[in-house]
């Protein structure tokens, strides 16, 4: 029984762990906070034991829960007044990874759509379904995110790298 439980926990963490972690890191911008969010997401999975219709549904569930966990974290009164000790993401100083830094500087709502669109490869319609927003809103957010990125990167490379 215990082995079965361990296997199930490992299977679920190994299947969705990286995706959750990347998303959490992009949303929170801090390694230690992303660690906390990561753990919270999988504990929620264990508590709820959702039954997924398919792989797409499962991934959408993990994204929405990660987003909510990050949101709860940001809403915490304390977070609004304190800053965690800097735990830099190791590769950020590498000029090759400059783009990631620019993305992290975007407001969180733009980071969400950028991540889902450019990393996960979701269409705007799929992102709208995951975030329960209108497709037009997602498209506008993507456009604004690109404009902000372009502004931030002026003098650097072009947006073709995105």
């Amino acid at each position: 029984m215990a082995i079965q439980r361990k296997e199930e926990a490992e299977r679920i963490v190994d299947t969705y762990g990286d995706a959750v972690y990347k998303f959490a890191l992009s949303l929170t911008r801090h390694k230690d906070v992303a660690d906390d969010v990561f753990q919270e997401v999988f504990l929620r999975y264990m508590k709820k034991r959702p039954v997924f219709e398919n792989e797409k549904h499962a991934r959408a569930w993990f994204y929405i829960v990660t987003k909510n966990c990050c949101r709860t974290h940001f809403m915490s009164a304390f977070i609004r007044h304190s800053a965690p000790l800097d735990q830099e993401i190791p590769f950020l100083n590498d000029p090759d990874y400059k783009l990631y830094q620019y993305v992290l500087e975007l407001p969180v709502k733009y980071r969400i759509v950028i991540h889902l669109f450019y990393y996960e490869g979701y269409s705007t319609r799929e992102i709208a379904a995951i975030l329960k927003k209108k497709e037009a809103t997602v498209r506008t957010q993507l456009k604004r995110a690109r404009t902000l990125l372009k502004k931030g990167m002026e003098g650097s490379d072009s947006l073709e790298n995105l």
């Binding site: 439980r5 926990a9 009164a77 990631y100």
Partner: protein, 242 residues
């Protein structure tokens, strides 16, 4: 320069985080029988002790006149504690580290004290369907990990359902902050040993927001709520300030 996708391909869950999460997921499923039995035994002892004390008090105190009633606090209502609308206060950020108190053997005394001071946090009333989580933690201030100071206790409570959220933070007032000392102090009003003020508003999406802050003994308290109805927040506050 690498693309966003290429960069993300490089990001992996740290092994220790992955393993700790798997361990917690397994642990979460097992009921902790030792803890349950100990809690029941403690409750029984407390009940017996209370009965004994009540008996002693009854036998030693003169009888009350008929019709005499004990002084009762009236129920907590938001409207009695509302503050005028204020501009967003700007507070300087403090650097530091938060860690769990209940897993730190050095923090046992700190944990017991804060649990005794705030027994109601274990039984807060939240709207139906909300899922909640309670953390006992400590905050160590410092410019970097080598220069961390002594820890001070704090309690974090989160409850949420969909887009609705309730968060409560109680922290030792040695931890620098906060709105109370940033212009909020004049609005505090007394309630059962607490000093409390409530502010209300709406967020950018039109959701109802409540924000309560206050003090109790040597603690600062801050509650932030995005709820469907004012009554949900009021009920939460009543269960906290019991």
């Amino acid at each position: 320069m690498k693309t966003y996708k290429e960069i993300n391909e490089k990001i992996m869950v740290p092994k220790e985080v992955r393993n700790a999460t798997v361990d917690k997921m397994i642990y979460k499923q097992k009921p902790n029988y030792v803890k349950v039995i100990l809690s029941l035994a403690c409750m029984l002892l407390i009940a017996l002790g209370t009965l004994q004390v009540m008996k002693m008090v009854q036998s030693s105190s003169p009888k009350m006149d008929t019709g005499q009633t004990a002084v009762k606090h009236k129920q907590f209502h938001i409207k009695d504690y509302l503050v005028p609308k204020q501009d967003e206060v700007s507070t300087s950020k403090i650097f530091g580290m938060i860690s769990d108190l209940d897993t730190d053997p050095m923090g046992k005394e700190m944990l017991e004290t804060i649990q005794n001071d705030f027994p109601t946090v274990e039984h807060l009333i939240v709207p139906k369907g909300f899922e909640s989580k309670l953390f006992y933690r400590q905050f160590k201030r410092g410019e970097n990990y080598e220069k961390l100071e002594k820890g001070y206790p704090l309690i974090d409570y989160y409850a949420e359902k969909g887009d609705y959220t309730l968060t409560l933070r109680i922290q030792d007032n040695h931890i620098p902050q906060c709105v109370i000392r940033d212009g909020g102090e004049p609005y505090l009003k007394g309630y059962k040993g607490y000093q409390i003020a409530v502010s209300e508003g709406t967020d950018q999406e039109g959701n109802k927001l409540f924000w309560a802050y206050g003090t109790y003994k040597n603690y600062d308290i801050e509650i932030y709520a995005m709820v469907e109805r004012a009554a949900d927040f009021e009920q939460f506050m009543q269960s906290f300030l019991k």
